[in-house]
């Protein structure tokens, strides 16, 4: 255990990821206290970075870009968290069932997974959001509902690997109920890959939310979201590029952070598995 933790924290690249993640979490928490991100000031439109106390300038409504990015951080984390959690729960549940019960349950669930994966992800998200009143809640649920296949597949393969092990056989012999076995014996042994997949999936969720908001289907105005900020700024790229550029950087850095941490976890935990 010690070895693993050491390995994880020592890696330079992972350190960068953790650092960025820390900044992100702080920003997201702070965002709850920011009230003035939506206040318009039509006299101060389109200011450049550094003018009039606006560190990153203002947008076409005179709203401070930096404040909106901060609030946007909170939005992204919230959406990412909820969507990833939904996808986690669905994925674990379906994967466990498929792997453990086998036979027709397995076939049914796996077919269903194949079908879900055959849908082009973004279009599916757009279709769901456009169908059921676009908004932040719809986006969260849609992303969650669309992202579970990889987790399900992972869980299934994990279960298959473990099913043949002795401790499962003995648990069955002892007469433990299926549910007990699934949740108390199998699941705890899969934690490592679950955590890795969750973390890597988080970045996907953030990107998906940004794409939806860019199309006007995710977070609705005036609530800031990095994706919708890029959309709003795209007509002003020649006048005030910051409106689109800064949120884009924010997305890139956030996604990067989750990817780095996720991969760091994967390396560390893989090391453990090898031993």
């Amino acid at each position: 255990m010690n070895n693993m933790v050491n390995h994880f924290f020592k890696d330079r690249v992972t350190q960068l990821g953790l650092f960025l993640l820390l900044i992100l979490i702080i920003t997201a928490s702070v965002s709850n206290f920011v009230n003035s991100a939506n206040i318009q000031n039509l006299d101060n439109r389109l200011l450049s970075a550094g003018e009039s106390n606006h560190l990153l300038g203002t947008d076409h409504f005179g709203r401070d870009i930096l404040l909106r990015i901060i609030v946007g951080a909170g939005v992204s984390i919230k959406v990412g968290l909820l969507a990833s959690t939904i996808s986690l729960l669905l994925g674990i549940l379906l994967g466990l069932m498929a792997g453990y019960f086998g036979k027709w349950v397995d076939t049914l669930i796996m077919r269903f997974t194949d079908i879900m994966m055959a849908f082009p992800v973004l279009l599916f998200l757009i279709a769901i959001s456009a169908t059921f009143k676009p908004g932040i809640n719809t986006a969260m649920i849609a992303i969650g509902v669309v992202s579970w296949p990889p987790m399900a597949r992972l869980m299934r393969s994990q279960v298959l690997m473990l099913k043949s092990r002795e401790f499962i056989a003995s648990a069955e012999a002892l007469g433990f109920s299926h549910i007990r076995i699934l949740f108390f014996h199998i699941l705890p042994n899969c934690l490592a890959p679950i955590i890795v997949t969750f973390t890597l999936g988080f970045s996907g969720a953030i990107m998906a939310e940004a794409s939806l908001s860019f199309l006007g289907l995710g977070v609705q105005p005036p609530t800031p979201s990095w994706g919708s900020m890029i959309n709003e700024g795209k007509d002003f790229l020649r006048i005030a590029p910051g409106i689109s550029v800064y949120p884009g950087l924010a997305i890139a850095i956030t996604v990067l952070a989750f990817n780095l941490v996720g991969e760091g976890l994967r390396d560390a935990l893989d090391v453990k598995l090898e031993k």
Binding site: G216, P221, I239
Partner: protein, 519 residues
């Protein structure tokens, strides 16, 4: 895979790749746009090229290029001869006699005759065609019977000979001539293979949907072949690519995007090439007059007072709009009535208190999906908030929005109305007439107004019409079923080497015949 083969293969692959890259880069440089081609854009793909279904602006603009009408719009609101060289209208306003030009050819060589025109108009009324533009000819004698399938042809259209068309109306209708210049009144015939053929200055060569439309000039065009040989219309919904194409010389004419207006107008190199055109439209907030809070005229007036229209124009529209006093744009109502409800938040609050809303009010403002509309609606939201009206903005795609407005769902909706034809009647009857109008979305109803509208439609004396128009406008300004926002002014920019073009008032006036490039 065999080791040696794979090695050779990979090596070759890289060599090819680098050659390829070189070609790409070299190929990308130094290609100039064709100087005999006019490059335009449209923000979306036209739905089709059939005049019977020309319900959107883009289809209409395409129809102007491919086909001709009896009469056409000039640069402003005037009507000029088209396929008809001259016309006479009888004293009672019921009979229109058109002299058709001789030797006009359809693009496939067939000669135009009066019977073709009659058939073209009847096609719009034909129940089998299911056109949504039947109303263009609803006043023509025999039109209703024909459109119900009860007669073989429309008696109101008669051809004395190949070059004389007479149209007879049931009752006088002042704007009728303007109707004949609309896209759905384009003269076409349907060939045996089902293809639609017209007489227009441009022939359709290629149409890649959502990509571009390529047109070649019609050298046998009756009014003289277009000076340029090719016309390309690129479909670009986004602003940045349009600007990109213009700046790099691949686009010849474009509307200056509102968001970039300050760059263009301040640039000494480009600003001389900006041309302005006042538009025939009205942007407004429709108010649902059938239920609280807007069934109370005081509340409607309060909202009018609460909005600082000039400020939104200055800040959001770069000054390119005229504040509206009523629904009818300047030019169609002379003189233009003064603004009655200037920005006065104090008065607004007073009126709200008088109506029982001293503690504020919550309403929904509906708009369609486009995020550009938010520039305006969010500004309005903030201004109304300042007098205690809390606004929730509801966005929906166009279909849902349109349906909701028709069904009277929103309290307030942001919308615009563009002229179909340059007559004040088009800003009154379709929008406010309470019996026949299909789009009386505000549910506002005023019998006096209806009577005035009827007179405006049937009176042929211009001076008398203007008097009625003013009376109608006063009623609407008093009762404010809408918040009248502005009439826009569009800024266009063209390449400096483009000659012979200036913007037109009507969306389907320009045929690009006289346009050339100076190289």
């Amino acid at each position: 895979m065999d080791y040696d083969k794979s090695h050779k293969f990979i090596g070759m692959f890289y060599r090819i790749f680098f050659i390829f890259l070189y070609i790409l880069i070299v190929g990308g440089c130094g290609v100039k746009p064709n100087s005999k081609q006019l490059n335009l854009i449209m923000p979306g793909d036209p739905k089709n090229i059939d005049p019977a279904y020309a319900t959107d602006v883009r289809t209409g603009q395409l129809c102007t290029l491919l086909y001709d009408n009896l009469v056409r719009f000039g640069n402003g609101a005037e009507l000029l001869p088209g396929l008809s060289e001259s016309w006479e209208i009888s004293e009672d306003g019921l009979k229109y006699l058109f002299s058709i030009r001789d030797s006009v050819l359809f693009q496939d060589g067939k000669i135009l005759q009066c019977s073709d025109i009659k058939k073209s108009f009847e096609r719009i009324l034909d129940p089998k065609t299911k056109s949504h533009r039947k109303w263009l000819f609803k006043n023509v004698n025999g039109a209703t019977e024909f459109s119900l399938g009860n007669s073989e042809s429309v008696t109101g259209f008669s051809c004395e000979d190949d070059n004389k068309l007479q149209i007879e109306l049931i009752q006088p209708f002042a704007p009728f001539l303007g109707f004949l210049a609309m896209p759905s009144a384009s003269i076409i015939y349907v060939s045996k293979s089902g293809k639609i053929v017209g007489t227009g200055p441009w022939k359709l060569k290629e149409w890649i949907h959502d990509g571009h439309i390529l047109l070649d000039r019609n050298s046998d065009y009756f009014d003289g072949a277009p000076k340029l040989e090719y016309l390309k219309i690129r479909i670009l919904p986004e602003v940045l690519p349009r600007t990109a194409e213009f700046v790099t010389g691949y686009l010849d004419i474009m509307e200056v995007p509102e968001s970039e207006f300050s760059i263009w107008s301040k640039d000494p190199e480009w600003s001389p090439n900006i041309k302005y055109q006042d538009d025939l439209n009205i942007f407004y907030l429709g108010l649902n007059c059938s239920r609280p809070p807007f069934n109370d005229v005081k509340v409607r007036r309060a909202v009018n007072y609460a909005i600082d229209v000039q400020r939104i124009i200055d800040k959001v529209k770069n000054g390119n709009a005229i504040p509206a006093s009523g629904p009818i744009p300047p030019g169609l109502i002379r003189p233009y009535p003064p603004i009655k409800y200037g920005f006065n938040p104090q008065r607004a609050k007073e009126l709200l208190a008088l109506s029982g809303y001293a503690d504020g009010l919550e309403i929904e403002l509906w708009q369609s999906q486009s995020s550009k509309l938010l520039y305006v609606t969010e500004a309005i939201q903030a201004q109304l908030e300042a007098v205690g009206i809390h606004v929730k903005i509801v966005r929906n795609d166009w279909n849902m929005y349109s349906k909701a407005v028709t069904e009277g769902v929103p309290d307030m909706y942001y919308r615009s109305w563009y002229a179909d034809y340059p007559d004040a009647e088009n800003f009154l009857a379709p929008l406010f007439e309470s019996e026949i109008s299909e789009r009386r979305w505000t549910r506002y109803s005023n019998k006096d107004l209806d009577k005035l509208i009827d007179k405006i439609q049937t009176t042929t004396d211009e001076k008398q019409r203007q008097i009625y128009i003013h009376e109608a406008s006063s009623i609407l300004i008093d009762d404010v079923p809408w918040v009248y926002l502005w009439h826009t002014r569009t800024a266009y920019i063209s390449q400096p080497n483009l000659l012979g073009w200036s913007p037109s008032l009507m969306f389907n006036a320009e045929k690009y015949i006289q346009v050339t490039k100076n190289d």
